[in-house]
């Protein structure tokens, strides 16, 4: 009987759990890692990006996002939309072709893979015969032309991937049609480019690697014309009127050829090396687009003088007398041009460039060609992300102030709306305003609107201005030197080079009610900033906190403290620093908390922790937690020397990589697979070497036991059960917890009377695992509200009647103690049971998805195994567990940040945040619909009846730009 009842209760609890928790990976924010292919569908107004890891991502209007992943772990080398359809074809590095489609399901589109195909050559043929190097999606929408390394062109019917053997254009067919005298019958090499005649879908141009181009008539199955370019071919563009063909070549030249007339044309109409005289690099892609009135736009990628500017990543835009070489900070993957007009056949309006680390969109219709700010695909990593901090439910006032401060920073952007508008965003408006703050290596803090599907940049704060560094505080973004040739213009904001690693931001804490922000960095600097709507000139007062407290025998071998500017500095509207604490030794700040109501900031390093009163700008408390025998913590980061070496090596590698042209896919892929094989062999070898782990109990002599891991302010019963007082709690790597009782002067005397801190308690956890979190639970067992939360009527005030409890979260256990007398009440062991350790922990409120008014507090936990757990409060019982991150992905696990409502973010690459949700109620995910364009595509290629070009024009003009 009893057992039955308990069973009933359990199932009831299970139902509640289902209503509270649910795990979803929802959106990927940021910029895809290692993009490898780009395409745009003018009819769908969708942009597609393929990546080296086999992902394919589609973007339309802000909020319209789709993502797919190929099962094969191979790079996506090409992506093509089928004209006028919601299907697209991808070509992978392993020579497989995949068909994807956007299928509407319950009013929401989903990206699904619908088929796959690999060319099979004749038996016994070498693999190069079928190795695809060029893909043409024919405007009829039902044929793919696949040019191969062997020089053949295969024709495949889509979407079924049926080979149409009788239509194949073999190399022999083409060679036989060539005039006898051509080049001594040398091999034509691979098919570099396939282009359809924009006005005559029966004609296809086949460009071979060696330079020759053949215009092939699909009907008559014969060559119409030969274009005998002599240089290695890089790309071909058929002008919109069908009259000319532009070819770009590996020597940095491009040629214009007349199409009219049959037979062989011996000389190009025009041949030019734009950055000539000295040897130039290849022009890898050429586009020419007409304008309504006036000269056409010409876009060239590459072609820079090899010796002087061979390392630049440039796209040249030439329009009339204007000639600009857009200079990007990373390698160009691909680009396309968006055109005006209802059918997207008008003037070029925007140039979209995908470079390795960001997407840059240039407004071609505004004077000066300004950059349009991207609503998605933002380079989160324009300087490496060093930490992140999430603040939920920002008050509107604060939100607007941050927005307006950010608007002032974005004046150099174009006013034009985002030009890519495909799909409908159906996701509901975000329930609240959420901020994600990322700290970067260059000392900046970026504020992102994380409320919805698009992670939108709001404001950027730079802390470097406070210090004297060699770094120029502002990058010369829109600088253009007069008379320089080539006429470079720097674009893009990806700048991975930090001039002073000490500026790196390590910890951030923002009070959303008061607008106070504290930012701490690598060299032990703690800045306190205040949101100000006016620009201000002020000197930042620096206070030194000597964390060693006279401990003898320490010699800091790490970096020195940052030098502070003595003179007043002008700070633009936004967050302006007004106080600075510098830790001595200047070790990296490992914990930071701000209490805006008490006007206190507490900070910790590997040496100890301190408490700073930012109202009176004085230290209240400095406590050394160092174990005297801990040499490692004393001396600072010894690996620093090594890290310089490493960064040097990396930058050399980067240069070398940029020199190796990766455009030759066939060569490259062979090299890549070779390198992959070598890597695998190395890995296998590494696995053979015995990896040993020492089994030893932790002792107090271990290194970095004094490192402060967590700091916490609480108004609780520290010394007796009748009076609650402000208190400060600190947890260390060695399993110690220090509690201080704080005495704050009354409000009216706050500026004069000193704040004092008295040691009250110390707890040494027996298991000595690092303390990663401290939370005080009120009489109801709920975590204490944040400072000022109650004052703003946004939280129920803490229950001060019942007994408070102290929850200490170590890497291995969750343990609840009573207060004020500290005695163990209950605990949940983690490591001893399943061998995983707590890496990240947050307090979250989980609302029930079924009833509006039911919810529970819980701990969100990420373990070193990459699993997410929810632990109930105050009972510390494990509720749910989901695998989330691969355990090998150490940086992903380390980057995880939780929100207060059961969501979280972690880096899946240096440039992308994955957003996940543990809450069944609070889910932010893209919901969007893409409909098939209204014009139905031509069903089949006109075969028998020779349609006049007039009739076809309408459909043809809507052809893909690729």
């Amino acid at each position: 009987m009893k057992r039955f009842r308990r069973h009933g209760q359990e199932s009831h609890r299970d139902r509640i759990k289902q209503e509270l928790y649910g795990f979803n990976k929802t959106v990927e924010h940021g910029f895809p890692h290692q993009p490898s292919a780009l395409v745009f569908s003018p009819s769908l107004q969708l942009l597609a990006i393929g990546t080296r890891s086999g992902a394919i991502k589609l973007y339309g209007a802000p909020g319209v996002e789709f993502m797919g992943l190929h099962d094969e772990n191979a790079a996506v080398t090409q992506v093509h939309f089928l004209p006028q359809q919601v299907d697209l074809v991808t070509l992978l590095d392993d020579n497989s072709l995949h068909m994807w489609t956007l299928r509407a399901h319950h009013g929401v589109s989903e990206l699904l893979e619908t088929g796959r195909f690999t060319l099979t050559g004749p038996p016994g043929a070498p693999p190069s015969v079928t190795r695809v190097t060029a893909v043409l999606t024919h405007s009829s929408g039902d044929m793919l032309f696949l040019g191969t390394e062997g020089g053949h062109v295969f024709v495949v019917e889509v979407p079924g991937f049926r080979e149409l053997e009788e239509r194949n254009i073999s190399l022999e067919n083409v060679t036989n049609s060539l005039p006898e005298d051509y080049g001594g019958r040398r091999s034509l090499e691979h098919v570099e480019s396939l282009q359809e005649n924009p006005v005559n879908p029966r004609q296809v141009l086949i460009g071979y690697g060696r330079g020759i181009m053949v215009i092939w008539d699909l009907e008559r199955h014969s060559a119409v014309k030969h274009i005998p370019a002599t240089q290695q071919l890089e790309s071909v563009w058929w002008t919109e009127d069908g009259g000319h063909v532009l070819s770009s070549h590996s020597d940095g030249s491009y040629c214009r050829w007349m199409v009219a007339g049959e037979g062989t044309q011996s000389e190009p109409e025009k041949s030019e090396v734009p950055y000539g005289h000295f040897p130039c690099k290849a022009i890898s892609k050429i586009i020419q687009l007409p304008t309504e009135q006036g000269p056409p736009f010409l876009f060239l990628s590459g072609g820079m003088p090899r010796a002087s500017y061979g390392d630049r990543h440039c796209i040249s835009v030439i329009h009339s007398k204007t000639h600009v070489a857009l200079d990007f900070t990373s390698r160009i993957i691909d680009f396309f041009v968006i055109r005006d007009g209802p059918d997207h056949t008008g003037d070029p309006s925007a140039l979209v460039v995908l470079v390795e680390e960001e997407l840059v969109v240039i407004d071609l219709q505004t004077e000066g060609w300004p950059v349009i700010q991207t609503p998605y695909l933002v380079p989160l990593h324009c300087s490496a992300i060093t930490c992140s901090h999430h603040v939920s439910a920002i008050p509107l006032k604060m939100w607007e102030r941050v927005l307006s401060a950010g608007a002032l920073q974005n004046t150099h952007y174009s006013k034009k709306p985002w030009p890519i508008t495909g799909g409908q965003n159906l996701s509901p408006d975000a329930p609240q305003r959420d901020l994600l703050l990322t700290g970067h290596e260059d000392g900046t803090v970026r504020f992102w609107d994380a409320s919805g599907v698009c992670l939108y940049p709001m404001y950027k704060l730079s802390t470097a201005g406070v210090f004297l560094t060699d770094a120029e505080p502002n990058d010369n973004m829109n600088q253009c030197t007069e008379g320089e040739w080539p006429p470079f213009r720097k674009v893009g904001c990806f700048d991975p080079y930090s001039d002073d690693p000490r500026l790196g931001v390590q910890k951030i804490h923002l009070c959303k009610y008061s607008g106070y922000l504290t930012v701490a960095g690598t060299a032990g600097q703690i800045l306190v900033l205040e949101l100000n709507d006016e620009a201000a000139e002020q000197t930042v007062e620096a206070t030194v906190a000597d964390l060693l407290q006279g401990q003898e025998g320490f010699r800091w071998k790490g970096h020195t403290r940052l030098e502070v500017r003595e003179e007043p500095v002008t700070f633009p509207p936004g967050f302006q620093p007004f106080a600075l604490v510098q830790c001595q030794p200047p070790a990296v700040v490992t914990a930071l908390t701000l209490h805006s109501e008490w006007k206190l900031v507490t900070f910790g390093t590997s040496h100890g922790f301190g408490l700073y009163d930012y109202q009176q700008k004085s230290n209240v408390l400095v406590r050394c937690t160092l174990n005297p025998s801990d040499q490692l913590a004393m001396e600072g980061p010894l690996s620093r020397v090594k890290s310089i070496k490493k960064s040097l090596r990396q930058s050399f590698r980067r240069i070398r990589r940029s020199r190796v042209s990766l455009r030759k896919h066939h060569v490259n892929s062979a090299l890549l697979s070779l390198a992959n094989a070598r890597l695998e062999a190395e890995l296998a070898e590494m696995e053979l070497a015995p990896v040993q782990r020492k089994i030893e109990a932790r002792s107090s002599d271990d290194s970095f036991t004094g490192l402060v891991r967590t700091l916490y302010f609480a108004d609780t019963f520290l010394s007796d059960s009748s009076h609650h007082t402000p208190s400060l709690w600190a947890g260390t790597n060695g399993g110690s917890v220090f509690a201080y009782q704080l005495r704050l002067p009354p409000v009216e005397r706050r500026s004069e009377d000193p704040v004092s801190a008295h040691p009250a308690k110390e707890i040494q956890l027996m298991h000595r695992a690092p303390v990663v979190g401290i939370v005080v639970l009120d009489g109801h067992g709920s975590p204490l509200p944040e400072p000022l939360e109650v004052a703003h009527d946004l939280a129920r005030s803490a229950d001060m009647q019942g007994c408070h409890q102290l929850l200490v979260i170590s890497e291995e256990q969750f343990k609840v103690f009573t207060l004020p007398k500290v005695s163990a009440k209950m605990k949940l062991k983690l490591t001893a049971i399943d061998g995983s350790r707590v890496r990240r922990v947050g307090v979250a409120w989980f609302g029930s998805s079924r009833s509006e008014d039911y919810g529970e507090s819980g701990l969100t936990v990420l373990t070193n195994q990459g699993d997410l757990h929810v632990v109930s409060l105050p009972g510390v019982k494990l509720q749910v567990q989901y695998p989330c991150i691969r355990r090998e992905d150490v940086s992903g696990i380390a980057s995880c940040v939780f929100t207060k409502h059961g969501q979280g973010f972690y880096l899946i690459s240096p440039s992308e945040f994955e957003r996940f949700s543990l809450s069944a109620r609070c889910v932010v995910e893209p919901r969007s619909l893409v409909e098939v364009p209204s014009q139905t595509p031509g069903t089949t290629l006109p075969r028998a009846q020779p349609d006049g070009p007039r009739v076809m024009e309408h459909a043809l003009l809507n052809d893909e730009s690729e």
Partner: protein
Amino acid sequence: MNKNHRVPSNRSLGAVEVKSKFGAEFRRFSLDRSKPGRFDEFYRLLQHMHRIPNVDLLVGYADVHGDLLPINNDDNYRKAISVADPVLRLFLQRKEEADYSAFGLDSLTRPKKTVLAAMLLRPDANRKKPLVIISLPRDFRPVSSIIDVDILPETHRRVRLYKHGQEKPLGFYIRDGSSVRVTPQGLEKVPGIFISRMVPGGLAESTGLLAVNDEVLEVNGIEVQGKSLDQVTDMMIANSHNLIVTVKPANQRNNIVRSGGGGAASGSSGHSSDSGTSFYGYSSPGIAVATTPADIIQNFHPEELESDEDDEDLVIEVDGEAMPIPRTSSASCTIPFIPRYMPHLDLRTTNGALASHNRSGSLGTLSTADRGLEGRSLEEEGTVITL
């Protein structure tokens, strides 16, 4: 003391006549058979009677068979009282100059080394050297052992590495490897965790219960299969106070044979016993004998060790001294907790009472006991952080 001796009716009243010999001196007194009291009181009484308050003694008695048997705890003290007929003959020796070989079966009648004596002593015991002493239970502490022999397959061995309060490192390394399992589909190669190295002088090596290439199957009752090397490492470290590893020894020849059929247990398993609670230890010479809680064995009950050994976090109040954190009773702990130091604390009051008899002596022992207590708490809880 003479009075006691002279009253002949003592026996009928349930009194035990005691004749105690120390060196050449005899003392006679009597004890209440029904209420013998505790050993430490008895010990103090002996010191008092012989007027040798500061001399560490080894107490022996002659049993009915004429064997000289030791009295060093409450149990054998009670036994001695109960078998005394009519007189309990005691032989006291100074600890420093004690002749251990005197103890044992028939030791009073036949001055020959017996099995018991051999068990008590190191086999190569040289009488000139200070010898291992079988000491009081307070000197005993749980050490590493093989446990759960009765429930495990013979090919497996469950070893408790009892680290508590010891300076010795656990001292072993583990590695990844592969082992062969028998499955319904036949033999299958599966990844496993193995012991890869022993640190010389470490706990693991010194117990001799683990060896290189032993496959680790469980850590504190939790299977390691499917867990990574790092996970198993973390599990072992998290349980390092009381680590129980189930291994499949690489050398299967030393397995304990339980069944009657294979009665010939091999030599090296001679250490191990068939009970889960057997502890064998060594004494620390020079430790005062005074403070023996009656039920200390029960305090070291295995379940308790396994459950909440690591619960004693240390809390320091600002004005107070270091204290292990007590546990409030709650639903989560099923085993009622007996604070480890309770018996010692009790003893202090007892000692205080005794101090009136012999101030200097009891003070000496008290302070030693105190130091012992403090030392242990330091050892166990780590460095006390001073405010």
